[in-house]
Symmetry: C2
Subunit: 336 residues, 2 copies
DNA sequence: CTGTTAGCGCTTTCAC
DNA sequence: GTGAAAGCGCTAACAG
């Protein structure tokens, strides 16, 4: 761990610069020298100190990423995709969890920036003004993921949460569902949740569906979803569709219906968002919106890599799209 | 982003060393000087370059962590606990996913080491010889998490997978279950899975339960768990208990039983391992082994921090214990 | 208490 | 093609 470039240089009878050139694949080095240097590196078990390289070269080969949480959310898988592709390209990930708090996000961004990452991935498009400022002034590529916005800090890689929710609403209306309750997360608001909620409401408005007293704010958990059913039953009018903003809440709702002997989808349709693995496993399987989570991470990684490579991308908005997965938790019948 | 310590020093009319002392909270600085320096730092918006500090001070304030996967596993939450406590102490996390492959783990460890982390967290206690060697020679504290071993590289923070599985087997035998099938993961073996499997088998052996043809290797997924039920039904003898090595497989099994109208637990008991959120949400709720995942991460972080602080810990094995959560998916009756 | 200086290990001109 | 030397921005002696 303490053999350094000078040791290799001495053994190979070359200058430190030459070793460095070999290490960094510069072409200005004769094949024989390169071979000799490589041999010496192996012999000494030399491992470059990337901290020193980072200081000298002004690039650290690290990327900062902040996600809300690592638990059962889509972000964990996004990070995995991101991590995988970056790793293949010799870049490492510095990761922080902000717990859906903008303030914490700001702290993390600040702390990461002091470590001079070459680029940044942040989740979502809502940030504190200071976070935006820090990121914008940092001079490094920034990708905002998991949603889209007209006004990105730099680049945005994601899908349109609003549009997906809107389309889902229309589809289920076409399947005969008419009396809707929307279930959203009671936590600190964020652009993805808000986009989904507004998408549902816009869809309902376009279809003339009543959404009076029809928005339930619940914990984003299985229990929260169960709770939603309890509260829905207290609404003084019949309901035939629960539009949940996350699969976790939707699955919680399905399981609560099992307990209450409410037949899904005949008595009540339930739809979610995310297509987590559990969505296709429950009974009945959940109608939901699928996004390629790991693919989104990989795509964000690719964009970041190209940006690091000084490429100019044709667009600042990379829309990965979504797919509505129609399954047994909602009605199937011919369109109206 | 380009104001440096010298600029602050010049403005404050002090030497760079003094600014450094203020930054690092050294006591050898007069209150007035400190105040002046602090003012200049604020005025210039100075942000220390931690890469340079890392090189000069020979500590980077980074910790490397490798986990198998970020998806629906306990490791994501362990990392979150770890990340949180380290963040509070000014330390950042470098993270890599090895996908249960020792080879990939080795690559990641090697790559991380070149970035000179101050300490290392690795998942599990089985590693390639080279990984062990690299870690052992690195001279930095290493914590192996999520299991225990007599022979840690350095420290181990976790719980006894074998013993938990063994005790669970005994408990369920006491509840009247007699004809067991064990479901384990078909993926690349690891110490946690193996510990659980051997724990189940040891329990069965102690109780004289037949385990001939009773070990099913399935995909560690909801589908894999469903598959286990299908295969169990083909075994030519009655079964009244499925001991699954993960909640994901156990929940998959429960859901398959719902589909097949197999009454749990009257006709078939099912138990899992991990106590993921879905475990208490399904119908019936799953009997499983609970470990404090985030708490394990935090504990690993605390150990790492104390180690970084040169403290000597009284033991190399930090056993966090486990708790058997007896729920409706297994029989409840007076002990034999 | 504080300024000065010598590195930390590497990259990158700049001559040769 | 290659060596020498000057930093990268900071910390940590070492004087004073």
């Amino acid at each position: 761990m303490n053999v350094k470039i000078a040791d290799v240089a001495k053994l190979a009878n070359v200058g430190a610069g030459t070793v460095s050139r070999v290490l960094n694949g510069s072409s200005n080095v004769s094949p024989e020298t390169r071979k000799r240097v490589l041999a010496c590196i192996k012999e000494l078990g030399y491992m470059p100190n990337l901290v020193a390289r980072g200081l000298a070269a002004n690039r650290t080969g690290m990327i900062g990423a902040v996600i809300p949480a690592a638990g059962y959310t889509l972000h964990a898988e996004v990070v995995q995709g991101l991590s995988d592709i970056l790793h293949e390209n010799g870049i490492r990930l510095m990761i922080g969890h902000c717990g859906y708090s903008m303030e914490r996000e700001e702290q993390i961004v600040q702390a990461f920036l002091a470590r001079r990452p070459d680029a940044f991935y942040v989740t979502g498009t809502w940030h504190s003004p200071e976070t935006r400022r820090l990121l914008a002034r940092s001079g490094i590529p920034v990708v905002e993921g998991a949603n889209l916005t007209d006004d990105p800090i730099d680049y945005t890689v994601g899908y349109d949460n609003f549009e997906a929710a809107r389309q889902l609403t229309h589809l289920l209306h076409a399947r005969g569902h008419r009396h809707v309750v929307v279930v959203t997360s009671a936590g600190e608001p964020n652009d993805r949740m808000e986009g989904r909620l507004q998408g549902y409401l816009a869809g309902c408005a376009e279809l003339g569906l009543d959404t009076q007293d029809a928005v339930l704010h619940c914990q984003n958990s299985f229990m929260g979803g169960a709770d939603a059913i309890t509260r829905m039953l207290q609404i003084g009018r019949p309901i035939d569709l629960v539009l949940a903003s996350t699969d976790v809440m939707a699955v919680g709702a399905i399981l609560e219906c099992q307990r209450r002997n409410i037949i899904v989808p005949q008595q009540l349709g339930i739809a979610g968002f995310d297509d987590l693995p559990i969505a296709s496993a429950v009974n009945p399987p959940l109608t939901t919106v699928r996004v390629d989570r790991a693919g989104m991470g990989r795509k964000a990684g690719e964009v970041l890599l190209r940006l690091l490579n000084q490429e100019v991308l044709p667009t600042k908005h990379i829309d990965l799209g979504f797919e509505i997965m129609e399954r047994g938790s909602t009605r199937r019948k011919a369109d109206d």
